[in-house]
C-alpha cells in the first residue's frame, strides 16, 4: 500500500462503519472487526489456517477522500485513517451476487441458504447442475490437511469450472489418517459427504499412514 501508516506503538487507528477502532500490528481488517464484534460474513476463513481469499464474501470497501476500493477484509492490512465500510452499496452488490450464484452451485448447503436469506437472496436465476451439491470449493479442507495435519491427502483437481476437491486419480488416499479435520472445518456438510471417498474403507488399511 502506498498510503503511509503512522503507527503508535504499532497500533493503527481507523474506522469501520464510522466507528473508531484500533488494530494491533499484524491484524487484518477482519481481525479488527471481530475484536469489536462488527459482523462480516465469511465462508473460507478459519483461524487454524492461513487466509486464502477465495470466497470473497468478506469484502469491504476501503475509502479515503475520493479514493475507494473493494478489498477482502480477511487479508487486507488496515492503515492509519482508512475508512472501512462493511455494508456499502458496492459491497452488498458483490455479496448478493455471490450468494445468488452459490444457491445454484451448492443448493443443498443449508448454511448458505441461511446466509443468502439474511442478505435478502431467496432464489437463484442461474442453472442448478446438481441439486445435492454442498461444496463451494472454499478449500478449507485442503488447507487444513496440508497446514495443520501435514498430510496433504486431498487437493484441488483441474481448474476453473471443472475444479473439484479430490484425491489423486479419484481413489481413496492411503496417506489419509482419517482424522476428520477436513470435516470439522468444512463450512457446509460437503466434506462429510465426501469423507469415504478420501479415506476409503478403514478396515482394509494395512496400518500404513497411521504412523502420524
Amino acid at each position: 500500500m502506498s498510503k503511509k501508516s503512522e503507527k503508535d506503538n504499532g497500533k493503527i487507528h481507523f474506522t469501520i462503519d464510522g466507528q473508531e477502532v484500533e488494530a494491533e500490528e499484524g491484524w487484518t481488517v477482519l481481525d479488527t472487526a471481530r475484536h469489536y464484534r462488527i459482523p462480516i460474513p465469511t465462508l473460507c476463513h478459519h483461524e487454524a489456517v492461513k487466509p486464502s481469499g477465495a470466497c470473497r464474501l468478506c469484502v469491504v470497501e476501503a475509502k479515503q477522500g475520493d479514493w475507494s476500493k473493494v478489498v477482502i477484509s480477511c487479508m487486507y492490512p488496515p492503515w492509519e485513517g482508512v475508512e472501512i465500510q462493511t455494508r456499502s452499496e458496492r459491497v452488498m452488490n458483490v455479496r448478493r451476487w455471490i450468494l445468488e450464484m452459490l444457491l445454484a452451485e451448492c443448493p443443498a448447503a443449508e448454511e448458505i441458504r441461511a446466509l443468502a436469506a439474511e442478505h435478502g437472496v431467496l432464489d437463484t436465476r442461474f442453472k442448478v447442475e446438481d441439486p445435492e451439491e454442498q461444496c463451494l470449493l472454499c478449500g478449507l479442507c485442503v488447507r487444513v490437511c496440508e497446514e495443520v495435519v501435514g498430510v496433504r491427502a486431498i487437493s484441488f483437481g483441474s481448474r476453473g469450472v471443472h475444479k473439484h476437491i479430490a484425491t489423486p486419480y479419484m481413489v481413496p488416499n492411503q496417506a489419509c489418517i482419517a482424522c476428520g479435520s477436513c470435516v470439522t472445518v468444512c463450512p457446509t456438510g460437503a466434506m462429510e459427504a465426501r469423507l469415504e471417498r478420501v479415506r476409503g474403507d478403514i478396515a482394509e488399511r494395512t496400518g500404513h499412514g497411521f504412523a502420524h
Binding site: 496433504r152 486431498i154 487437493s155 484441488f156 483437481g157 483441474s158 489423486p168 486419480y169 488416499n173
Partner: protein
C-alpha cells in the same frame, strides 16, 4: 508421434531433486510418452520429493498435460480471436462431428486427438489448425476432412 519412450530415468536425471522442477519434468515426460502415466507421475514425485497430490493437482491444472494416452495424430484448432472471427469454432464443430469426439478427447481407436488452443499467435493465417505440429493456414473444414481421411487410411 512417439509411442515408445526413452527410459524414464534418463529424463529424471535431467533435473536436480527439487520441487521447482515439477512442471519441467512433467513437460519432458509428456513430450516423450505423449501422456503421463500414473506410474511415471509417481516416479517423478519420488525423484523431486513432491507429494502425489501436488503433482496430480498440477497435471490436471495445466492444459498441456494429459493423464491418458493421446491419439497417434493430433489435430489442434486455434480459437484465438482472429480465428474465431474467421470461423474457427465452426471448424471445431465440424471436426467433432467427423471424428465423433469432443475437444480434448481421443478417438477410441487412439488414432486422433482433437484439441483446441487459445491462440497460436499466428493470426495472419486465420483460421489455423495444426495437424501433427504442421500449421495449416486459412484452413477449411473440407481440407481438414481430407487430411483426416488421408491419415486414417495410413
Amino acid at each position: 508421434m512417439k509411442q515408445e519412450g526413452k527410459d524414464i530415468d534418463a529424463i529424471l536425471e535431467r533435473y536436480p531433486e527439487e520441487p521447482r522442477y515439477l512442471i519441467a519434468l512433467l513437460q519432458d515426460v509428456q513430450a516423450e510418452y505423449n501422456y503421463i502415466s500414473e506410474e511415471n507421475l509417481k516416479l517423478i514425485c519420488e525423484h523431486l520429493c513432491v507429494p502425489v497430490t501436488q503433482a496430480w493437482a498440477v497435471a490436471t491444472f495445466y492444459k498441456s498435460f494429459s493423464l491418458e494416452p493421446r491419439g497417434e495424430h493430433e489435430i489442434k484448432v486455434c480459437l484465438g480471436t482472429a480465428c474465431h472471427l474467421k470461423g474457427g469454432q465452426r471448424l471445431v464443430e465440424n471436426l467433432t462431428r467427423d471424428l465423433g469426439v469432443q475437444p480434448e478427447e481421443t478417438t477410441p481407436d487412439l488414432k486422433f486427438t482433437l484439441d483446441t488452443v487459445n491462440c497460436l499467435g499466428a493470426c495472419a493465417l486465420a483460421p489455423v489448425a495444426v495437424v501433427d505440429e504442421e500449421y495449416q493456414a486459412q484452413v477449411t473444414s473440407k481440407k481438414l476432412k481430407k487430411t483426416i481421411q488421408k491419415l486414417a487410411a495410413e
